[in-house]
């Protein structure tokens, strides 16, 4: 079904100027975070569209990048002071993605050249923006730490050779999204490369929204915080009173 859909898409879209271009779709374009949300998997599928037979030469590669909303973050370094480890230096990073996953058909340094990485901002390091007046050399250990910490917690992932490419034409990639997603627009970019040069790019969006009860409680806590606080208290008082009343019944 999915493949059939991919082919339909391939013929429906107008021809691009390049010799080889991407046609792709996503298994879902919106994600609702409900009470029982435990993470989800998105399937990125597509095909390479050609006017002429595939040119001879080195094979094609595909890179899929899924990127969460950017936020400013503060990275702090602990230092030993009076025998206690405490936060000392801090560095504010203007913008860092809350989630970043890269999936490729082969080792990243083989499927992508450095110049094209700089131009298209593909690797995680390229996606992080420092404040304009920052000295890069000073903040290097902090940005390295950001990558390390978020890679360890699974927020930043590089899955080399996880994209399946068949006959130089059809491809698919599964990208797992964690359970601690934040709301916002997630950007999906698909790159077609040959010998490290980017031939074509395609961009899609996935909207991530809290839904149902989650949506209701979250917006209540933001927009009607007094009411929300009183609701939490009422719940606590009721539960405390209820429990002691029920247990007193049971004792008799």
């Amino acid at each position: 079904m999915i493949r059939a859909l991919a082919f339909c898409l391939a013929f429906a879209l107008p021809a691009a100027a390049q010799e080889e271009s991407i046609v792709a779709g996503l298994s879902q374009t919106s994600i609702s975070i409900t009470t029982n949300y435990v993470g989800s998997e998105i399937l990125v599928f597509g095909a390479v569209r050609r006017e002429a037979p595939a040119p001879a030469g080195p094979p094609l590669d595909v890179i899929v990048v899924v990127e969460g909303p950017h936020t400013p973050v503060v990275v702090r370094r602990k230092e030993r002071n009076l025998g206690i480890w405490m936060n000392a230096e801090a560095e504010r990073i203007e913008s860092a993605p809350s989630f970043y996953a890269i999936a490729t058909t082969g080792p990243l340094n083989e499927v992508l050249s450095e110049e094209d990485d700089l131009r298209e901002r593909i690797t995680i390091g390229q996606a992080i923006k420092l404040a304009d007046d920052d000295d890069t050399a000073d903040s290097q250990p902090f940005t390295d730490a950001l990558l390390r910490v978020r890679q360890a917690s699974g927020r930043y992932r590089i899955n080399e050779s996880s994209v399946w490419l068949d006959e130089q034409t059809l491809f698919r990639a599964d990208v797992a999204l964690p359970s601690d997603l934040i709301e916002g627009q997630y950007r999906v970019r698909i790159f077609l490369t040959r010998e490290g040069q980017v031939i074509d790019v395609l961009e899609r969006d996935i909207g991530v929204r809290k839904a149902g009860l989650e949506r209701f409680l979250y917006s209540l806590s933001r927009e009607q915080s007094l009411l929300y606080g009183l609701l939490s208290l009422a719940l606590a008082v009721l539960a405390g009173w209820g429990a002691s009343a029920i247990f007193q019944r049971l004792r008799r």
């Binding site: 949300y37 990275v75 702090r76 801090a90 504010r92 997603l181 606590a236 405390g240």
Partner: protein, 306 residues
């Protein structure tokens, strides 16, 4: 069964939270403390953001205190007047604590300050309690009853603004109860605890209140102060997670009733030694995290986008 918490923005097993609430409730029922000092560090440990853990912990304390105070109320073991005076102090302390919390969060030192508070207060109180109960256990063994004067006059009794507290049988200045209330309110805001573990010794040793009204009065005073703290956290930083609170509360109110049943069967001195050891263990664990070299010296905090 995984459940997504709307404010903490993490997905956690619901039974883990129910169990956590149950264990803490069991202990609080057994020892007659709110259990906030246990639940907040445990929430840190399972990956709840510290700010959410502190605010939600305060909400859970409200539930367990309401549950506890009802039983005490029937026994007429609540000094309402003393409780109200302490609450007045508590509100001031809590408001001040909330402001300090927000300021420290901006400086990135909130974790350190919370941890230091834990080590200091739990360490001192735990050590005092252990010392005291071991001594009285020994005394009981020797079977020599030592008479303790109920009305030893100290500097506390020479302060102005005296007031009658009939249920406690005291005629003392309102200043010490106000100050104790304020101190506990401050800690409630910073540590997400009710403060019973500080208030109970303070009422007995500083104010000379009779032991039978101490637990009920402290629970009574904790309700309003932690309710105020919860409300302030909800309004100023929006960090109270109602879903997390609900699961913890259900676990803890059930646990508390079971714990109270078990507590009756144990000897009071043994109970106090157990509680002292537990308080010391929490303090040592938090202290070790401060002193031992961390695995990762960097930490990442997303800045809230308003």
């Amino acid at each position: 069964m995984q459940i997504y918490l709307p404010i903490a923005e993490v997905s956690i097993n619901a039974f883990l939270l129910l169990g956590l609430g149950g264990i803490v409730g069991f202990m609080s029922g057994m020892f007659g403390v709110g259990g906030g000092f246990l639940i907040t560090p445990l929430l840190f440990f399972i990956g709840i953001p510290p700010a959410v853990a502190v605010a939600t912990g305060a909400n859970q304390v409200v539930a367990s205190s309401v549950s506890g105070v009802l039983a005490q109320w029937k026994r007429k073991a609540v000094d309402v007047r003393m409780g109200l005076v302490m609450q007045a102090g508590g509100l001031v302390g809590s408001a001040f604590g909330i402001a300090v919390f927000a300021r420290l969060a901006a400086l990135g030192q909130v974790d350190l300050f919370v941890q230091l508070c834990y080590v200091l207060f739990l360490g001192v109180i735990g050590a005092l309690m252990l010392h005291e109960s071991v001594r009285s256990l020994r005394r009981a063994r020797k079977a020599t009853t030592l008479v303790r004067r109920t009305h030893s006059h100290t500097w506390v009794h020479r302060l102005p603004f005296k007031m009658k507290f009939r249920a406690s049988g005291l005629y003392i200045s309102v200043l010490p109860p106000l100050a104790i209330g304020a101190g506990v309110g401050f800690l409630s805001a910073i540590m997400g605890v009710g403060g019973g573990f500080i208030m109970v010794p303070a009422m007995i040793y500083l104010l000379g209140m009779p032991t039978k009204v101490v637990v009920g009065t402290s629970l009574f005073q904790i309700i309003l102060v932690s309710a105020f703290t919860t409300l302030m956290h909800a309004i100023t930083s929006g960090t109270v997670d109602i879903m997390l609170a609900l699961l913890l509360i259900i676990g803890s109110v059930v646990g508390a009733q079971v714990g109270a049943r078990v507590g009756v069967k144990l000897q009071a001195e043994q109970l106090r030694i157990l509680l002292a050891l537990m308080v010391l263990a929490v303090s040592l664990k938090v202290g070790a995290d401060l002193v031992l070299p961390p695995g990762e010296t960097y930490s990442v905090t997303p800045e809230a986008v308003q």
